[in-house]
């Protein structure tokens, strides 16, 4: 196994050979707008919850795309479903629906 020297800090690298992308796949199957994010951060900076805590919708989606599912699911709980991000997103990502899908994944885990 070639490790490219990534042996010392396994928690600090994305090992995409081992990443669990099941959640990402199921979310993009349910709502393909999940794939459209261009990481502009509008959702995060407008976020009502983000004014009180370090919750970031953008980052949550990104974590799922890199297989960091449990972190993402734990984060998603902070969302208030207010819908502001939906209005801000330039790519029409269906943000509230994605939050609901992530929360539902929480139930099945």
């Amino acid at each position: 196994m070639v490790n490219f020297g990534y042996t010392t800090l396994p928690t600090h690298i994305h090992d995409m050979d081992k990443a669990d992308l099941g959640l990402a796949d199921s979310i993009s199957f349910e709502d393909s707008s999940f794939n459209l994010c261009i990481a502009c951060g509008s959702c995060t900076s407008t976020c009502t919850a983000g004014a009180f805590t370090n919750f970031s919708f953008r980052q949550m989606c990104h974590q799922i795309k890199r297989g960091e599912n449990s972190q993402a699911i734990a984060e998603s709980e902070k969302c208030m479903l207010c819908g502001k991000c939906t209005l801000a997103c330039p790519r029409n990502v269906n943000t509230r629906n994605i939050i609901r899908l992530v929360r539902k994944a929480n139930q099945t885990i």
Binding site: G41, T44, S45, N54, P90
Partner: protein, 338 residues
Amino acid sequence: MSKTVAIIGGGIAGLETSIQLEKLGYDVTLYEKDKALGGHAGKWDRLFPNRRHATEVIDSLTSRIKDKVQINLAATVNQIKRENGSFLVEANGKSQKADAIVLTTGFELFPANKKEEYGYGIFENVITSAELESMFSSNGKPLMTNGNNPAKVAFIHCVGSRDEKVNRPYCSKVCCVTAVKQAIEVKEAIPTSDVYCFYMDLRMFGPGYEDLYKEAQVKGVNFIRGRLSETSEMEGGRVLIKAEDTLSSKPLKMTVDMVVLMVGMSPLPSTEKLLKDLEITPNNDGFVQVKDYHLEPTHTEADGVFVAGACTGPNNITDSVNAAHTAALEVHKYLTSE
């Protein structure tokens, strides 16, 4: 009898097409709805990539137009009809015959008040990149509404571009480099100022553009990777802006003296009417659909109708000039093959 070509729009593309067709021996009728030639470029102060004055370019073009070009100023073409293989072009209530048409109607600046959350038209000191150009032309520097020099200026990329919420999903190409150019100019005009560019991607696609980006970095322009989400007004006409600093994954707020919105290039709504007359369908973004993006970039679906410049989509002056050359040659081929 020599043949007549009608050119709709007297911007860069229209001027260059007129010059070339005149050289090829055609009678050219140039229509321009404004009182002056030059189009949008005529309103800019200095141009990227080399920051020469825009007037130099416009003057050079207008001086090369000779008397076989009939120039109609303040003449908006509002109808084009086909008649026995030629065209009837109507402007100011008068119709004139033409054997071929070149559409060089250009673009419209994205109306920035459509992004209400950015505060344009609502908060003082939220201006567009085009307004900043005028400030440079008239004052040599940006000024706040109270006459002061702005100490902190934020450039907001992609306003009315890459934004599905305003139905402009495409990239306007020139605004990244324009922002960088203007950021440098602000730094030069007001050396004590802090200048920030809020971008999603920096699209420096042309010759000398990346150099401008480097120059801006050297001059101390700050780049923040994040898109503006909302604005709010503070005392003294200052503006509070919010974006995420996506590179550090933290929301960011900043109070600035001036917000410059890098408005995109949008399809000109009045062109749509002409396209309908000529039975040409616009492309997905609303610009003129060319016949073949690779091989016939200045043809349209309609016989005898050619196109050049920003009415086919966002472009820069070089693109407009290149397209104008091609279009002139294609018109010549079309009129001689008959």
